[in-house]
Every structure is written in C-alpha cells, then in structure tokens.
Amino acid sequence: MSMTLEPKAVRPITAASDRPDYLNADYSILSWLLTLDHKRIAILYLISISVFFFVGGFFAALIRLELATPGGDLVPGDTYNKLFTMHGIVMLFFFLIPSIPATLGNFLVPMMIGAKDLAFPRLNLLSWYVYIAAGVLAVIAMFNGGVDTGWTFYTPLSTRASHTQVFLTALAAFVAGFSSILTGLNFMVTIHRMRAPGLTWFRLPLFIWAMYATSLVIMLGTPVIAITLAMVAVERAWGVGIFDPSLGGDPVLFQHLFWFYSHPAVYIMILPGMGVISELISTFCRKVIFGYKFIAFSSIAIAVLGFAVWGHHMFVSTQSMMTSVFFSIVTMLVAVPSGIKVFNWTATMWQSSVSWQTPMLYALGFIGLFTIGGVTGLHLGTLGTNIALTQTYFVVAHFHYVMVGGAIMAYLGGLHFWWPKMTGRMYPEFWGKLSALIVFIGFNLTFFPQFLLGQQGMLRRYWEYVPEFQVLNVMSTAGASILGVGYILPLFYLLWSLRYGKPAGPNPWGATGLEWTTQSPPISENFEKTPVVTTEPYRYSREEAHPVH
C-alpha cells in the first residue's frame, strides 16, 4: 500500500524548531494508519490521490497516443472505450473531487480558524478509509477488465448493453461518495463551531468560505448520485425497470438524476480552487483582497445556482423545450458570480507588490485558463450554439480548461504555497517556476486545438476519426507530452525537498493567516495557545507580516 511508504519518506525531516512536530511525533506505521491528526490524514490523502492522479494520467497518455492517428491502431476499440471511461472515473471521483478539500482542506481548515483539529477526528480518519475502500474496488474493477460505459454511466448502455465491470465500478463511485460526505460534514460543523475567539464570519480567510460552499454542495448533491448509481446496479443485476425502456423505464430520467449531482460536482471541484487562488493572489500581491464580501458571497451564489443548471447537459436529450430554456437562462446567471471573482482578483493586483514566485505563477495561469474555460461555457450554455457543439471536443476542451486549467492549476499552486507549512521544507524555486511554465504551455497546446476540433465536428469518445481532423489531434498529443513532463517534475523535486530542501521557517511568504503564525511543520496541536483574532484577513503591513525565515 502506498501509505506505508510515508513514514520512511518523512523520517529524515528535522524541523527548524527543536519542538516535536506532527511529522516526528511518532514514526510507527500504526501511528499513521490510526492517526486522528487532521494534518496526518491530509498527508495520507495527498499520497493516495497522487497515486490515482498518475494512474488517470497514464490512461490519458494512452488516449492521446491512440488519437495521434485517425485509425484505431494502438489499442482495440473496446480497450479505448475503457481507457477514457476509467480516465474519467479515476480523475473525477478519486482525484479531483477529494483533491483540494481532502488534502489542503483537511490540513488547513482547522489551522486557518485557529482550531486544534476538525470537529470529528475519527470521522475524518474514517473518510480516508472509505476512500481507500472505494479505490480498492475501482482497482479490482480495472484489473477484472475495466468498464466501458463512459464515466457518465448513461442508460440503457450501462444497464443493458455493456458487458464490463459496471456494477463494481458504480459501487466504487457510490462508496467514494460517502467519503466526500463525511469530509463535507466535518468541515461544515468545524467552521460553524470551532472558530478561534474573535474570528467572525467576515474575518474568515476566503479559502474557508470556499470550503464551506463546497461542503454545502457535497452534502446536498452526493446522496443523489449514490442513489442513482444504486438504481443502475439494481436494474443491471435484477432487471428492475427504472431506466431501460424495454423494462418500462425512462433513460432520460437517469440523465436528470445523474446531472443533478454531476453538474454541482463541477463546483465541488472548482470552488476550492477559487478559494486557493484568493489566498495566493492576496499573499503574493501583499495586499488585502479586493471585494472580500463579494468573493465570499459569490462562492455561495455559485453553490446555490449550481443546483439549478443540470439540464444544460441535456439540450438535445429530448427534454422539453421549456425545460431547456429554463436551464439555459439560469446557466447564463452563473457567469455573474464567476466574473465577480475573476475581476476582483485582477483588481487586487492593481497597485500591489507582485512577487513572481511559483504559487503566484500557478495563480496567474489559473486566472487566464479559468477565464477561457468560463467563457467557452457560455457557448455551451447558450441554446443555439449548444446544438452544434455539445458532445464534441469543444466540450472536452471546455471542461479541461475548467478542471485541469482551473482546479489542477489551483491545486498545484496551493500545494507549492503550503508545502513549506506541511513539510517544513522549501522546494527548489527554479524547478518550481520551470514546471509551472511547462504545465501552462503544455496545457494550452493540448487543449486549445480541441476547441477547434469540436467546432469542426470531431466527437468525444471517438476511437477513430475522419482524416481531416489529424493535424489538430497531433498538436494536442504533442502538447500532452509536454504537459506530462510538467506534472512529473514536481513529483521529483517535491520529494527531493523532503530531505534536501531549505528549512522553511514559520512564514516564508510573509503571509497573513493563522496557519503562518505557528511553526513549520506545525506541532500536533497546531498552536501553542489558542489564537485570538482581532482584525479582518489579509491585513498586510510592515509590522504584521514580515517574512520570517
């Protein structure tokens, strides 16, 4: 198991401080597997999701290689179908959804609000075990032939036609959902009940607001996907007619239930990223965030509106015309809170003091890529253009700009930003900047051609394609190889820094925020004594936040 490597990996760390920290409090494997410390659980999650990220990335690499030529010549059609299905399932359920909440969120929510731990430490550990159980189920399904329904499990393909591991994979996604529910519940209670004295709602860091909005979506949406997947399993296993028209069911009903969760799930993935970006922009501009309340409430607005837009995935599904009109117009409204965030980040940079360090490069990349991902969402949310573009590579490009250009850029930016806090070590800045640049270039080269492909009519989930699409596909595959390098580099230099990185000190960035007031890595209890908060966040001044090395 991957987590057993961890004690070895961190053993060499000695904190700058002579006090024991959460990493060297105990070295035994059991002390990790049975830990109730939110910081250690965050590390367990970090290792697990990293494994799944590279598994999903491996599938992506094979997909791009197959698509370098128009004919299906690298893998058979059924294998290709399994590759994109498992790429989607692994990346969404086992990487993106837990990524920021379960690693950075787990580590930071208590620290940012001045608490010793989350409200329910045992539930927190349970959520990791549930996640691992789901991951094991998914891996068993993969080794037993995988699944070929697409991550969307559309019926009746999934219930009647597919002869692959649908049941097991659906069960894995079902179980993984409980892991996110436990995390969401824990965050919500913690944020309500465990804030430090003086830490009022409008003194919370924006990352906390984002986590709160995310938890709301997780708790309201995830049960619906769970029951929907259970219905798929029941129909498949026992022929109970729910979605299959030959059994008296309705396949479009499945799509409504599926997207009722899976659209909000997009916000589960991107809202935490927005929270990270707010922290990064403020810190590396050394300036209070512009429009704090507008950013905070826009997170809530996105979370709420996000529950009333699912039908925009179904404009050509035979849902009624008025249904489509409703969902299209509500979708348009989401542009407003999303725009508010982007404009406020940009405004924060005005007359600031911008430091070009690695996390900031990721943040700048995020703003550009997320904006492109957002405005191309308008093409798809608008009824007329949706008819032409839906189901094409335009959709693939759009959601990768949001999920990879947005969520993963934010995740990497956040990981670099809080890495010194989590490990007590600085990563090598040169390699950090270089890989951020490679990721940005590789990303655009991979996914921008896909917008053009989609406009030309190339469809997603196509194993073969007509020859006129090859030029753009080759560009995309070439870009993916660059992107791959950009993702593998941090794996090496971050691991390298565990042993050889410079000691970070409590606050290497000169950031505000309670997590930077304690030592790096923090002690098991986080703070020597409970902090008392007297001001709004992001108050940068010479006295308060000079870098401490």
Binding site: D148, V288, I329, S353, T385, Q391
Partner: protein, 347 residues
C-alpha cells in the same frame, strides 16, 4: 494528414447553420473581449507592480461597490442577450415547418437505417433535396444514439422507447458527414455515414429509381395483417375508434382530458393501449409491445398519419397488393416486388 480545414468553423450548409454561426461569433467576441481585459490586466499589473523592494507594503483597497455593480451588471446584460438569442434559435430548431417532409430513422448498434416515405431505404446514407425542410422521426432499437450533421450544426438524441425529431433545410448541394454523437458502445466511432444533398430535380430522379412500395402502403398491409382492422373499422360495431383524420387532432380521453394525436401518442397507443383510453371506448386492445419491430411500427404510424376520411381499408379483404395506393406520395411506384421480398408477408 490530407484535407485539413484551416477555417474556424466548418462548411455551413443549412438554414439554421448561419444563424448558429452568427450567435457563435457574438459569444466568441464577448468571450475574447473579457479574456483580453483579464489577461492584459493581469499581465500589465504583474509587470508594472512587480515587487522591487521587500520593505514596500502597498496601500490597501478593500473594494468598491460601484465597481462590483459595474462588473456584475454589464456581464449580466451581455449573457442575457446571449441566452435569449439562443432561445430564439432553439425555438425554431424545435418546431419543424408545416410543409416538412418526414423521413424515418432507426439507430442501432452501430448503424443508421433510414426509411423514406416513398419506400426508399438506406443504410448510413441520407439523400435529401436542397431547399426543402426535412423532418426526421427517429428512434433507437437498443441504446441512445445521436444524429449529428456538423455542416448543418444540428444534432438530436435518438432514444429507445420514444420518437425524437430533428428538422433541417439544406442550402447547398454536396456530401456531408453524418456522425453518431452519443456514445453507444464498441463501434461508436464507426457509426458514421453521409448526408447527400441534391438539386431537387436530381433528387426526384434518385427517388424514382429507388422507390419501393411506400411506407404508408406497407403500413396499411401491416394494419390488416396485425388485425388492427378488425376493430378500427366503421363496420366493426364501434369497438374501437376510427383512425381516419386522427393525426394532428386533439382527441378526448375517458379520464376527461384531451391529448394531441401525434406520432408519440400513436406509437404509445399501439404498444401500450391501456395507457390512454379514448372517451367512449373500453380498454380491450391487446398490447403490441415486443410484437412489432421499430421499423414495422414506423410504417403503421406512417399509414395512420396519412389516413384520410374513407381511407380505412375494406374489412376482411387483406391483400398483398391492393389495387389503389391511396396514400402514395410518389406517382411512379414500380410494380410490386416478388412476394418473398415483401416485409410482413403472411401466407
């Protein structure tokens, strides 16, 4: 790598395509403008205000309600224009013109079966005339498929258990890609074909060459063979409603409501007759679920759609080749084929 098309948008060959493209350019323009503002702003600020001194702390600005309202309101207006512009196009996409010609499409793993009213059958190819609205009546025999013609900018899911519709009017003769756009299993990417758009005269010629007994005529024979005629007949003692002139009318049901007798209603009433009972009748009709193929069903539907007053075939005179094809659209139907080629033949 032949045939690379350097254009941003592919060839546009339907009436709706140019309208969708205009909206596309509006959205792209707005999007590019917003992206440009953000990217230029971010780049300019990060260079202009780059950190030169570790001791410099910039003046804080906590925000500006006026600015927030500005950058909420202007985007709101821009996206609402988009939204309602899209609604206007979608409304026309949804409603086929009255004079559209119906073509029947069945999707199955992994091919397209196309039935023209004149009895012309095609696989993975659809011939249509230029400048005339065509309305596809589509269903699937297995999983969800999607009929997509990039040059026309239109697509619609083809769903098992129901009819979906897609209409278009081609504006340019030529041959265009036909793709399945809904992932449907192993050979999804091979479920492709072409749409051949012809000049009307050329199309008439093609139609004449390929003509077989019309769908309605075949449907009429099925109507007799499947014993529908036994009850749906003026001399049958009012056991079941007479279907002449039914299509497109609103009919009264026994629960007091009314329903539009469209293709979906006719289909449902054949497969699941007990679901909607006409006012004044008893629920005595047997189900035809799983007893007719989708293609046979479409033929019966096509027959009932075209059934005019007095058009019900004579009772108990089921014949292979009726003297008069009272529903035919093409005047040049060739003579009947050999009996072994007749679908639904019953000896």
């Amino acid at each position: 790598m032949g045939g690379f098309d350097p254009r941003i948008l592919p060839e546009s060959a339907s009436t709706i395509a140019s309208r969708i493209d205009a909206l596309y350019w509006y959205i792209t323009g707005v999007g590019a403008f917003v992206t440009l503002i953000v990217v230029v702003g971010v780049l300019y600020f990060s260079i202009r205000y780059r950190r030169t001194s570790e001791d410099y702390f910039p003046k804080p600005f906590v925000g500006s309600t006026a600015l927030e309202l500005t950058w909420s309101f202007i985007p709101l207006v821009l996206v609402l224009i988009m939204g309602f512009w899209g609604v206007a196009i979608y409304a026309d996409f949804w409603r086929a013109p009255e004079n559209a010609t119906d073509v029947y499409v069945i999707g199955k793993q992994w091919m397209w079966h196309i039935n023209h009213q004149g009895g012309q059958r095609e696989i993975n190819t659809l011939h249509v005339p230029v400048g005339r609205p065509i309305r596809l009546v589509m269903t699937s025999e297995d999983v969800i498929h999607d009929f997509y013609i990039p040059a026309f900018r239109v697509k619609m899911d083809v769903v098992p258990g129901k009819y979906s519709h897609l209409w278009f009017e081609a504006t340019k003769p030529g041959t265009y890609h036909l793709f399945c756009a809904a992932y449907c299993g192993t050979e999804h990417s091979r479920m492709i074909g072409k749409v051949v758009v012809m000049e009307p005269a050329e199309f008439e010629q093609w139609q004449t060459q390929k003509a077989d007994r019309s769908m309605a005529l075949q449907g009429r024979q099925l109507f007799q063979k499947l014993q529908c005629i036994t009850c749906h007949h003026p001399e049958a003692g009012n056991k079941a409603p007479i279907l002449e002139g039914l299509y497109g009318r609103r009919v009264a049901l026994d629960n007091g409501s009314t329903v539009l007798a469209d293709e979906a209603y006719i289909r449902e009433s054949i497969l699941y007759p007990a679901k909607k009972i006409r006012a004044g009748y008893r629920s005595i009709m047997p189900t035809y679920d799983k007893q007719v193929t989708e293609e046979e069903l479409m033929k019966v539907v096509a027959f009932i759609k075209g059934l005019k007053l007095g058009g019900t075939p004579p009772l108990m005179q089921y014949s292979e080749a009726p003297a008069v094809d009272d529903t035919k659209k093409t005047p040049t139907n060739p003579p009947e084929k050999a009996p072994e080629n007749v679908p639904g033949k019953n000896k």
